[in-house]
Amino acid sequence: MKISKKVKEQTRIRLLEAAVDVISEKGFEKASMREISRRADVADATIYNYFSTKEKLLYGYCEHVQQQVMDELMSIEDFHEYSLRDQLHQMTETKLTKWLPAREFLTEVFSYTFASPATGNELLSETKNLSKRMFTDLLDASIEAGEIPEQPYQDLLPRLFWDYETAILAYWLKDTSDEFANTTKLLDQSSEIVGQLLIGGVVGKTLDMFSFLFRTHVLQHMNSLENLFADPEIMAAKRKFMGGEA
């Protein structure tokens, strides 16, 4: 029997949601694939057609959240009229909202990724790519509209933004304030900074400055080192000094 694409997608999401439930309850280590598939009302073996490992379920849900964030942002009719700062703020805020029902699960994602960064990094690549595409799209639109200047190191920016969002999520997981008010405040204020950095093209300028410093000063010193080594007289003098007792 051929299963339609739609049904397949529904089963996939059901499995992810079941994984969130089971992993939230028992922790990643103790959760079993069997229990997840039963919770999702899927035959024991079928789960492996969708997710070959438990890790893939863990990170599959991250991708699912990122996808939901994108759908949500696309459903806001006047989203393109927001300022870039507000768009990024909305993006991160939406991410928090989407993670809210699975906050315990996210804690598991963080601790697993912390324990096995290589696996995490590999399995998160799809999510990161989607995040990068979303961020780059906003940035490009903003540059086209003349809202912010060309950003010379655009490849770097999506990665920085990803790290920023990860830091916000980490802060949120530790936030014990009522209704996560502290996170709301942090996000509000930090997105202002992010916005200002982009408007000023600061990341690019900073890197420009570093490379300028590097070229003019560090390389200069490299040259003088080269000269040092190349200068036989000094080398000789040094040897002579060091070999004083000879």
Binding site: D86, H89, Q90, E93, E179, F180, A181, T184
Partner: protein, 438 residues
């Protein structure tokens, strides 16, 4: 009066007692410093004040929401604060950083389950006004009604908590900026801060405010005074939706050069509102901040922001007219008796100095009631005279307990008189109080 929620009574009493305590604190500090040369200490205070006030209050204005509310609260006790400090605080009204559309959307979605553009037919993401603990947006309901949506800063209760932690740390230094004679003790200060904090936390309950607004809309029927009606389906703990009133704030209105007659009419309406609220309902809108009145070109006035409501005791409402009457008669002994009948405790052994000061004070109160209609343009220093009189009264242990209702009555009428002075209006203050004939 029986319809008043109990928490409302409790809430108002907080402010009243704070005012009393601050007042008493003034007396205590004065009593403790008899040997300090008055001039020297004042000069030193002023110098310190100039150099530090700005710095300190810049820090305070960073505190979103709390600062505005605190400024309002301290603004009630204007006579207590030096001019410079008051100016810095007044600025904070306008310096609240606005919420961006993301946070506005977040609050609406949290409260009603859908985004503002889905909940309303249209919703303007730009705020039209700052409110004490939030900001106001214009929107349109599905049936086309224009509404004002007041949105509370998300997490403001949390902010209030942390702001007050900070405030407790900086307040002792702030207090040093006050002239020595008006500096409250640490204990008084701590109590005041705690009480303002709990009152603020209560004010974050927008449902209560919505209830109050609706109560006034139902009960106040005064020609030319408009109270917005409340749209309950769009109200929650964090959001209040009311009818959108048109009109402008007093300064803008005065710029349009309304005629003397129209200004008089507007002022007279505010006066009727105040008197009727007390006599008929025993309950007043107790926040006479000019920002709470919206003036229309024809002199009609809209009343907004029902966050601060005061309900008077039956005893107070009953005795108030006779108190005013005896003040107008200039009979100091009878006045003292009436003061006591509403619950004031006044020192029994008044010497002649104290009697004189008291007489002068009651004379000041009586002054605008002693004419058919009082011209606030001619008497534009009337409210400012209160400063010196109050200071003189405070320097004597005449009054041991100020009746709380009276504080609210005086404060609200003082605020109204300030507005009348700005309007340069002529107002009949006598009608309705059953005062003795002129």
């Amino acid at each position: 009066m029986s319809t008043v929620p109990r928490s409302q009574l409790a809430r108002s009493s907080v402010v009243g007692s704070t005012a009393v305590k601050i007042g008493l604190g003034k007396l205590k500090t004065k009593a403790k410093r008899p040997f300090l040369s008055h001039e020297n200490s004042e000069a030193a205070d002023q110098e310190q004040l100039n150099s530090e006030a700005e710095l300190l209050f810049k820090a305070i204005t960073q505190l979103r929401g709390t600062a505005v509310k605190l400024a309002q609260f301290l603004g009630m006790e204007t006579e207590l604060l030096p001019e410079r400090v008051r100016k810095e605080l007044a600025k904070s009204y306008h310096q609240v950083p606005p919420l961006n559309r993301v946070l506005v959307g977040k609050v609406i979605e949290n409260e009603f389950g859908s985004r503002p553009d889905k909940l309303f037919k249209c919703f303007d993401p730009e705020a039209i006004a700052a409110a004490s603990l939030g900001q106001v947006h214009q929107a349109e309901l599905d049936n086309g009604t224009s509404v004002a949506v007041k949105i509370q800063y998300p997490g403001i209760h949390q902010t209030i908590e942390s702001d007050f932690k900070l405030l407790r740390k900086i307040a002792p230094q702030g207090i040093n900026l006050l002239p020595k004679s008006t500096r409250p003790t640490k204990e008084v200060l701590d109590n005041a801060i705690t009480e303002v904090e709990s009152r603020l936390q209560e004010e974050t309950n927008y449902l209560l405010e919505a209830e109050n607004t609706q109560w006034f809309a139902n009960n106040l029927q005064i020609d030319g005074i408009q109270v917005p009606c409340v749209y309950e389906n769009y109200c929650s703990n964090r959001v209040i939706t009311t009818e959108l009133l048109t009109g402008v704030h007093i300064d803008q209105w005065l710029e349009t050069k309304p005629s003397q007659a129209v200004r008089n009419q507007a002022a007279q309406r505010l006066q009727s509102l105040f008197r009727n609220s007390i006599i008929k309902h025993g309950r007043i809108h107790a926040d006479p901040n000019p920002g709470n009145y919206l003036f229309k070109p024809d002199g009609r006035v809209g009343l907004i922001d029902f966050g601060c409501i005061k309900t008077f005791s039956n005893q107070f409402v009953e005795h108030l007219p006779s108190l005013l009457a005896s003040i107008c008669n200039g009979d100091i002994d009878h006045t003292l008796k009436t003061y006591e009948s509403i619950g004031m405790v006044i020192s029994t052994d008044l010497n002649s100095d104290m009697r004189d000061s008291l007489a002068e004070f009651t004379h000041w109160i009586a002054h605008p009631f002693m004419t058919e209609s009082f011209d606030f343009k001619e008497n534009n220093t009337y409210t400012n005279q209160a400063h010196e009189l109050m200071q003189r009264l405070n320097s004597m242990p005449t009054v041991e307990k100020i009746q709380e209702d009276l504080i609210f009555f005086e404060r609200t009428s003082y605020g109204l008189f300030k507005i009348f002075e700005r309007l340069e209006a002529t107002v009949d203050l006598r009608t309705g109080w059953n005062l003795p004939a002129l």
